[in-house]
Symmetry: C2
Subunit: 149 residues, 2 copies
């Protein structure tokens, strides 16, 4: 992502938060990732269950996911749109995830991301995340893992 | 959904907006549904493509989807959580969709919903929607259509 010229201060702060978050994801740095979450964070992730409730559940989920990558995680946030007030923000983007997995597979997928944040004690923190791919509407209802923006 | 006692005014207004929206969905009332959207609305839906850009694309999508139901659409919003300021809000919920389809199938599925809204000229309007189910992480990567909250 590139910083935008003359971006409103709240938008710029949220964009910085995403930069820090994505850098930690690429480095498989669980603590660095979790520094961006509020305690009450609720996650709708790519894999079941329907939801993960609370930062601890998110932490376990990130740690397990990082272990499925052989080396660094390829992670790029694209088409990020930020809607922010002084106290909360929501954002959506298309995120590119790629890299070699420990099971021998090569991941290369685009996912939709919607993130909600609150400014708590002067710091923007993620309270909600929603990641997904759509699925094909005929049996066997496969996830649409081959779509590109 | 039930109104909450002593709910903050913005939260109550957003909840009312969802009530009106869901009532229009159940009635397959395209205009009633679309009255809740901003012109720039961007949708991440259950089916491909990755995104629908603009209210007109959302309108066509709703109209086509409504036609796949024999009778009324079963639609209930559950576990709605609202985070609102004076100018914007984001919300997440688990939504139950059910009913007889024109292809003979009986739909009964729970989906995750994340919605972003802005208060524009005194009225809350949806600018972003994200609907999804997770998918099972082994081939053939089926959508997880059997999950319940």
């Amino acid at each position: 992502m590139k910083a935008k010229i003359n971006e409103p201060p709240n938008d710029a702060q949220v964009r910085d938060r995403f930069d820090a978050w994505a850098q930690a994801v690429r480095a498989k740095d669980v603590e660095g990732v979790m520094a961006n979450y509020a305690a009450e964070a609720l996650l709708f992730d790519l894999a079941p269950p329907l939801q993960y409730q609370g930062a601890e559940a998110c932490r376990r989920n990130w740690a397990e996911w990082f272990q499925t990558f052989k080396g660094p995680v390829g992670y790029e946030i694209s088409k990020l749109q930020i809607t922010a007030s002084d106290t909360l923000a929501f954002c959506h983007s298309l995120n590119h995830i790629y890299g070699a997995r420990t099971d021998g597979e090569e991941t290369d997928v685009w996912v939709r991301a919607t993130i909600g944040l609150r400014k708590l004690n002067g710091k923007w923190l993620i309270t909600h995340e929603h990641y997904s791919v759509p699925f094909y509407m005929e049996p066997p209802y496969r996830a649409s893992l081959d779509l590109k923006p």
